[in-house]
Amino acid sequence: MVRKWLVALCVVLWALPMLVVAGCGSGDDGGSDGGGGGSSSKQGGPPIKIGASLPLTGEFSEPGKAAQQGYRVWESTINEGDGLLGRKVKFTFRDDASDQNTVVSDYTSLISRNKVDLLAGTFSSLLNIPASTVAERNRMLYVEPAGGAPEIFDRGYKHLFFAQQATADKQGDVWAEWVLGLPEDKRPKTAAYPTLDDPFAVPVLEGIREKFEAAGIKTVQKSTYPADTSNFDSIANAVKGKNPDVVVHGATFADGVGFVRAMKKVGFKPKMFFETSAPSFGDQYIKGVGKDATEGVFYAVSHTPEAQTPGNEEFVAKYKEMFGGTEVPEDAADAFATAQVIQAAVEAVGSVERKDQTKLADWLRDNKVDTILGPLSWDEAGRPEGEFLIGQWQDGKPEVVLPKDVATSDKIVEKYGG
């Protein structure tokens, strides 16, 4: 008798959350954001559903939100125009909270419950790796805006594409070549490579270091610090102790700022300074480190609002109209470019059916797509074959200095600190 009650209670307790989740699950567009434009089927059919999970909270929330903005700008632009294949588009967003397990659940859910027609990638290599696995298993096209770690593309996936100009290990190439092209007396002799232990930052540095070492620039210091380092004084001090000519720093944002300030604190100024990510954050960066410290800082970036690439002007204008402000985050531009890539493939193949996803991927491999980042094309594994832009802070303003044909400034400041 006792047991029967227990049984009944346990069944209820066990089934309850399942029912709740199931009930909520079917209505889960409540957790997503539909974009602008009505979903009226005036134009040739129901809206095309695009699913993306993004880190809207958690560690990567800032770039995640920027990426979401980029997708939304594209969605608005399309819906105000002729649509995609004559239909409107509707993004369904999920928040993976910068967590890998969640991103897997999210994409699984988008594919199987929301039954989206197309997928768009998430932010950061760490999240894109497991997410792309879900996509690959389900044979769906997966274009990602940010996640350039080379390993992502070593897995032999056939549906994966990266919507930037190059993978992480190649991002510093243009700058490295410029350095090596300097006359003998101006070229640095020694280099230090402090870096954050991050799947994006490390390959960028490795790429540069390989080139430098091959050309005879001696590596005098190399260190990796963990993600939760907050005190950069010791690290800066260690770098100072070796007195390198050029410092190549692998960073994201907070540590980028922290390290520059620490260099000031310990009283060290290398002749040349290259830093990943952080300097591309515009206003936030200069506020963080102060104008003097930005002068001459080199960095790699995928997008510049001044570029004369197709659709860029409209993108910048639309972004400012929708979200205000004076700056356009790089991650938003990358997301917009991702959507452009998807759009190009869909328009060429003429279908968003599940069975045609592989055709979309095949088309991309064989063709070039013009985006706001410039023309993008890919190799067998989905690696882009383009060149990254190199930026430099000059007189308190971020400028593009290389490649010369898209530079926004004619000069290149050769010494850090001016």
């Binding site: 909270t57 560690e59 929330s61 010791s234 944002f253 604190k265 310990v266």
Partner: protein, 293 residues
């Protein structure tokens, strides 16, 4: 040689601040036999509050200590009475789990209120250093350390010179005896917890100007603090100071001579070595083992 001295100095300066933070934790353990795993979260919370004060009013974080300390005191007192008091008699695992869950809740709240991005307070003197010969002493570290020492001295005075302070120490050593001489041990426990959290509040304000932080940073801090009190002897205030200085120097030395990626390992290695070889730490008391009988 300069590099070596510099490393030591940096370690000591940091160690001073660590000492202040660890003092609160060890005090709570000494009196209540509770390992407050949420201590790291409290300190980050104080840092966020300080940041908000600075962001809104430009108030220097080191001065903000005046505000955050009583705030955290009240917070700690409330929290104790609401959640910790009921489990004081429960086995140690309960208190660890409970305080851990508090840490998670606080982390979640901080994330919701302030977001999960890195914050730091940027005072004007942040990038400046005192130059002493070939050495540099970053100003914020120096001010922070001085303030920390000041608060610690205040705590020491409180514990030794005031009646409440002595009541706290009595309760730590012998609760039944303390009851017998008129100490309301339950109230004292609440007071102790509140003092421990308040002290952390002061430390958190200092931390906000020294390092960037985000809600998830509390893990690193609590690991460090646990390492410190284990090394110094759980429950011993002087031990916390000694442990903090040693750990601070240990971390900077490891960063400079081994590599920054191993600096976070230092507290854990300390924990292992100490708990396995000399569980009472450097200055902790060896308890009579059958005292429960």
């Amino acid at each position: 040689m300069t590099e070596f001295l510099q490393t030591i100095i940096l370690g000591l300066l940091i160690g001073g601040v660590y000492a202040l933070l660890a003092a609160g934790l060890t005090l709570i353990f000494g009196v209540m036999n509770v390992i407050n795993v949420a201590h790291g979260a409290f300190l980050i919370l104080a840092a966020f509050v300080t940041w908000t004060l600075w962001d809104a009013t430009g108030l220097d974080p080191l001065l903000a200590v005046i505000v955050t300390t009583p705030l955290m005191f009240g917070f700690g007192w409330l929290l104790y009475n609401a959640t910790i008091r009921p489990i004081r008699k429960a086995p140690p695992s309960s208190s660890v789990l409970l305080t851990f869950s508090l840490a998670l809740v606080i982390e979640g709240v901080m994330g919701l209120v302030w977001g999960n991005t890195s914050h730091a307070v940027r005072t004007p003197y942040f990038d400046q250093s005192f130059d002493v010969g070939d050495l540099f002493l970053p100003k914020s570290q120096v001010y922070g350390c001085l303030l920390a020492v000041g608060v610690l001295a205040g705590l020491w005075g409180f514990l030794t010179k005031t009646w409440t302070g002595r009541a706290i120490r009595a309760s730590a050593v012998n609760p039944q005896g303390a009851e017998l001489v008129g100490v309301n041990v339950a109230a004292v426990a609440a007071m102790t917890f509140a003092v421990g959290v308040a002290v952390t509040g002061a430390g958190g304000s200092i931390v906000s100007v020294l390092y960037p932080f985000l809600p998830g940073s509390h893990y690193v801090w609590i690991s460090r603090l646990l390492g410190i009190i284990v090394l110094g002897g759980m429950g011993s205030l002087p031990g916390a100071v000694v442990g903090a200085l040693l750990l601070g120097v240990g971390e900077t030395m490891t960063t400079t001579y081994v590599g920054p990626e191993w600096a976070t390992a230092v507290p854990f290695v300390v924990i292992f070595v100490v708990l396995l070889l000399r569980p009472q730490g450097l200055l902790g008391a060896r308890l009579r083992e059958d005292v429960a009988l």
